[in-house]
Symmetry: C2
Subunit: 755 residues, 2 copies
């Protein structure tokens, strides 16, 4: 998305070709709908492009905000209509050789394009851009129409994600435990007319391979376009200061010595070079300029430490697959999160929305985002921002929780869509690896290693981007998904005891639910439904009830088991949000303690596409961090003092104990230091013990003592464990635990902590 | 291999073009060797083609048989020579348009071909056939030379299989625990001159897909060749009676209704049709005829019964990959074995050698052979015979126990070789599935799912043979390799207790060692070394000592632990062979009891490439079954009464117990019946119990009672458990167990068996 161009386009009430150097013209569109492909719409309404047909209708017909109350239900009929976008424009002035193109970076999902009544394209697939040469069909006045088909559905019933099991369209919008049934359709990415010179570069890729020592990049320039044969081009690589560091006049193979490497932000600088390719005409005049950022890095998935030693004994099976990311030869502990569509209608996502969310992701100390396969492959600005911010991207293809078939038609669409996705995204240094999709090798999906769709994706990635790893799905063997609640709904085992028992190479999904803050709740739930929360109300539509299993996602019963009956909404929300934060800290920090066998921790989920009443998300729609966000941010600091507890609720008179650790993912050594461990009840601070930790090697944790104390009496229902690191307040940590006094009024005594 | 043509070729003392219809001429070759590629050999010896350079030298220079004593060591110097094959022939008479070709189906491993001093080809790879059009270079008298390079070695040290880690050459010949270090080189498959008409079909493939109900085959004929454009062809499909059932005159897409299906021999008839394609010239005259057999079947690897339910609980990982073979919609329990090269020098393998071994495999009730990736991909006659006999083939690519690199050169050779292999073997209905190679995801190999070689093979199979499953290696997760001894060398746990504890989807390698029979031992071990066996003698060279780990493969210590010190070679061999049989029966029958979760059992290994002194093999070189072969044959009968024991050795006074089962892999139901269970010591038969089993559903086992009895005194060191099925002696089973009397002379009593 180029905001300046959009701005220019909006200035023109009537579409004419703008005077911008790249001669792009944004058009003014109208939208209509009808029951069949053949019948014409009876009326036309203004259309916003990019956008979604639902939003245009809602605006024109004054629908209530889809995220308020149960309004989303009013939108359901829109699934089954045929939509026509139309626009008209006058013939552009073309100098000799110039061609007029219609460009769309994405139309969702099945569509046909007509110019002056002539069908030019019929396509299935929202990720393959459209590029149509209109020139020979142009009249003085032209009408352009795009017919968009209804939401594809494999079967009429059941009305759920399985309807998307034979399309390369994100399954999430068919309904999920945190996403209403709202299936976008329409033009969802930049769309414009473009005048192109006779010769034109359509795609340009700086392919490189780094030598073993990372001191040299062998570069191969790949240029694709029209009438390029024998035309001179110049390629220039500039460093961050704008200094030219490499230049090619027509040569496609070059050597670049000593490239500055691109690193994720917590391991170095995400160094970006500027690549500029200039196309010249026969006279040497520059007729086209393409600029992009490139970063040099090597990514591998290697075996986790200790994984080769498993399994032991006979009969012997294979070892688990690798889940340790290695960037530029360095094994990196991945701290991240699962990213979902930041909007239900991806057409309205802007660079600014991405930027807000990615700023927060970096603030949370995340170095990787898993772009979950239930959602879209993001727009270009997303990847540009990840490149800049040094955030790795685990990119999934749009397959999730379905059994995508060994069917020739589906496979042909998947081949087309995956090629478009790979060829676009592979240019970004933030790309960590490809993944076939979400939970495909679990019972609820039913795919296996033999499924042709996944063999095809592996093959496509190998052919088009052999330097990036590929995994067929998550979880792989040895990787973990879940749990998604504070304590197991069947066994009632708390995350505090479950996590230390777990032994996985990567925790790639784990959730802790929390209600949204009261201010958010007020924007989505009518006042009269707000308290107390009940099933069958807007609370349920917003996933507080009957979302996943049990009483998810509000989990009021669990919250009240620990902190008693809530008297107000504020109290319920505060306790639920506290438990989310403490639960998440437990998992992230325990995963880090399990390093190096464990190499990754990513919670489910980061953000949400609409405001939920309760959800595992860290950030309420659109960009409002929950308190749990800050808990996770603390747990993911490069260095911190950390305490491990065996349970959440402790009773008066019981011997409390905790293991103390220093965690470090820092790529440099840390000197020795001292941790003070305190128990705090209310305002009374009980100093008890200190631990002198030894000097710490880069990227290696240190386990400390187990501290113990018999819990005295106090009157609150909670207490804190505070770790203070002498001279390094930025390493301090604080945990809140639940407390059960024998009697509320019992006199306090000072506990003594022991190692 | 077409024996009739070879015979004709041998008749001609001087090569001329034979008068056979397909105008093939076999040439008379000579061989020489030299220190460099440039220097010419100083002398020439007769060469046998196909064969191996080592065998030609051994014959000419009167070397001892490589399999006797330690003679193999005398052959080692041959690894590092350059070899030149040469032959001469006079110009053939060609009618207008005819072309003269040099054809070789396989030259091992790196070579260059020269005609009259002009280099025509330089190739690496033994599985890609050579097809060179000589016509324009022919003189009146022609000299053809093939320069074969020394054995490829990644590094000079260590001298082991890791030297083969960057070549598509079978690693086994670099030395294995049952294969001496003898690395073949030279022309190893059919090689001849051929006169071809101006238009010629070089490859023909009947591609088909069966509908879901298996009632219809959609056929697509694929023809490749020279100057075929617009030439008429006729394709005829005939049934087993020679009746024409389908015909195409030029059309490549056809429908074949109600094809007879090809089945593995224990589930139906391996029905083969005859496919004939006739190429006609413009006048309609038949200028070429190609005939082959084809079978119609659908193969899938599907999830094992119960596998979707695992793993349970949170955090949740993925389920194990599928290891259940489904043929024509029927889930089949695979009983098979691991096939290794039947010769050290594959050049001398004939159709007859294959036939002998495959007859025995069918006799052993095996329905699948795993063609282990340490060896070659077999010659065409192997697959033709498997097609005929109804034996499934699990075909691995030549990768085994090495870390094959992400290296551009290696990958290019692998791509070439895998394409040649796939395009040849995919035509055979016996092909069950493809596999990347042996134990590649285990620590000793070090490859992972990210290894480009395996991603490439997956991709190649998907592209060239999408209807056949592909697995990257064996074992996969959930599959088992090992153990390879009667009791674990560390823990001393017997297979009788280890196997029932195991829970795997497929047991794809498991071994039980046995010494070769005395007659075989006498052919390989000099008389003076024969008794007692000792390390450092021919016993060791023939793998009785220091082969794998511990005292493998003779395992005299284990044998004598059960049966006391052996006084003669005969006694040692008999006891070792008995234990092999009983151990193998335990595994095969236990794997069958674990059906349907378990779907496959294949022992390590079937045959051997030279006579070993001790080995896990069932058949001594070349085709001499050990007693264990017959034990396995019994364990693999479609239906049998089976007893499960918790250990091998029982003591006087101890309460012996066994679980009784009826096992059935039969595709039809079986009526109810009665099993009599007896203990037999020496000649005294102690009838004790009978079990009335219920009617049995097709392909479903039935578990019976546990029978118990206090063991009386008798004087032998072993006893038998005999199961007799009333009216069905073919279901009877018999087991021998070891016995420890308290005193030899103690009086016998009659035991009583109880359920």
């Amino acid at each position: 998305m180029k905001p300046i161009l959009i701005f220019i386009a909006l200035l023109f009430a009537f579409p004419v070709f703008s005077g911008t150097p790249n001669k792009q013209t944004f058009l003014k569109w109208e939208l209509g709908y009808s029951k069949t492909a053949e019948s014409m719409p009876s009326k036309w309404i203004p259309a916003t492009v990019p956008g979604a047909v639902q939003l245009d209708i809602a605006k024109a017909e004054k629908y209530g905000q889809y995220y308020y109350a149960e309004h989303w239900k009013d939108y359901l009929w829109m699934e089954d209509q045929f939509y026509t976008y139309r626009t008209s424009f006058s013939k552009p002035d073309l100098v000799v050789g110039e061609r007029a193109f219609f460009i769309s970076k994405g139309i969702d999902y099945q569509f046909r394009i007509f110019l002056n009544g002539v069908e030019l394209l019929s396509q299935e697939g929202m990720f393959t851009p459209v590029s149509l040469d209109f020139t020979d069909l142009l009249k003085e006045n032209n009408e352009l129409k795009i017919l968009v088909y209804p939401v594809p559905k494999l079967h009429p019933k059941p009305v759920d994600r399985s309807q998307a099991a034979n399309v390369a369209k994100p399954a999430v919008s068919y309904g999920w435990d945190w996403h209403p049934r709202l299936v976008p359709l329409g033009i969802w990415d930049e769309t414009y007319l473009e005048i192109r010179p006779a010769s034109f570069i359509e795609d340009f890729h700086v392919n490189y391979s780094l030598n073993k020592e990372l001191t040299n990049a062998e570069i191969k320039l790949e240029i694709a376009g029209r009438n390029l044969k024998d035309l001179p081009f110049v390629w220039i690589l500039k460093d961050e200061n704008g200094k030219e560091v490499l230049k090619s006049e027509g040569k496609t193979k070059l050597t670049f010595p000593n490239p500055q490497l691109w690193w994720p932000h917590d391991h170095g600088k995400p160094y970006l070079y500027t690549s500029t390719v200039l196309l010249q005409d026969a006279a040497g005049k520059v007729i086209q300029t393409r600029e992009s950022k490139i970063g040099f890095r090597r990514v591998k998935l290697v075996m986790n430490e200790g994984a080769w030693r498993e399994p032991d004994g006979f009969p012997k099976s294979r070892s688990v697959p690798p889940a340790q990311l290695e960037i530029n030869g360095r094994k990196i502990f991945c701290k991240g999160t699962n990213w979902v569509n930041p909007e239900i209608f991806p057409g309205i996502i802007t660079r600014e929305r991405y930027d807000e969310l990615l700023k927060l992701a970096k603030e949370a100390n995340f170095n990787i985002l898993r772009i979950w396969g239930g959602g879209i492959v993001n727009k270009e600005s997303f990847f540009e921002l990840c490149d800049e911010k040094g955030i790795l991207v685990w990119q999934e293809f749009p397959l999730a929780c379905n059994n995508y078939p060994d069917d020739a038609h589906y496979l042909s669409i998947l081949k087309q869509e995956s090629a478009s996705i790979i060829n676009r995204v592979k240019k970004h240094p933030s790309l960590a690896f490809w993944c076939g999709g979400n939970e495909l090798f679990n019972a609820w999906s039913g795919m296996t290693d033999q499924s042709l769709a996944l063999r095809l994706l592996n093959s496509q990635c190998l052919e088009l981007d052999p330097n990036s790893p590929f995994i067929p799905t998550s979880p792989l063997m040895g990787m973990a998904h879940g749990n998604y609640v504070f304590r197991d709904l069947q066994t009632k085992e708390e995350v505090f005891s479950n996590m230390p028992r777990a032994h996985y190479t990567a925790y790639t999904e784990f959730g802790m639910p929390a209600p949204a803050s009261v201010e958010v709740l007020k924007t989505i739930i009518p006042k009269e439904e707000l308290w107390p929360p009940k099933p069958g109300t807007s609370w349920e539509s917003h996933h507080a009830y009957k979302a996943w299993v049990g009483n998810t996602w509000l989990c009021q019963d669990i919250i009240e088991d620990y902190f008693g009956v809530s008297n107000t909404l504020e109290e319920l929300v505060a306790n639920g949000q506290l438990m989310q934060g403490e639960g998440y800290k437990c998992i992230y920090e325990e995963a880090r303690r399990q390093k190096p066998y464990c190499a990754m921790a990513a919670n489910w989920c980061y953000n949400e596409p609409w405001p939920t009443a309760a959800n595992n998300s860290l950030i309420s729609y659109p960009n409002i961090p929950k308190p749990g966000f800050y808990a996770v941010k603390n747990a993911c600091r490069p260095v911190l003092a950390s305490a491990k507890f065996s349970k959440f609720k402790w009773s008066e008179g019981e011997t409390f104990f905790a293991d103390v650790w220093m965690l470090s993912d820092l790529p440099t050594d840390i000197p020795a230091g001292k941790v003070k461990i305190k128990l705090v009840a209310g305002t009374s601070e009980i100093a008890a013990l200190s631990w002198d930790y030894s000097p710490m090697k880069a990227n290696v944790n240190q386990s400390g003592p187990t501290v113990r104390c018999k819990l005295p009496a106090w009157s609150t229902d909670r207490f804190k464990v505070v770790l203070e690191v002498e001279g390094y307040p930025e390493y301090n940590s604080e945990y809140t635990l639940a407390y059960q006094p024998r009697t509320v009024e019992r006199k306090r005594t000072t506990p003594v902590m022991n190692q």
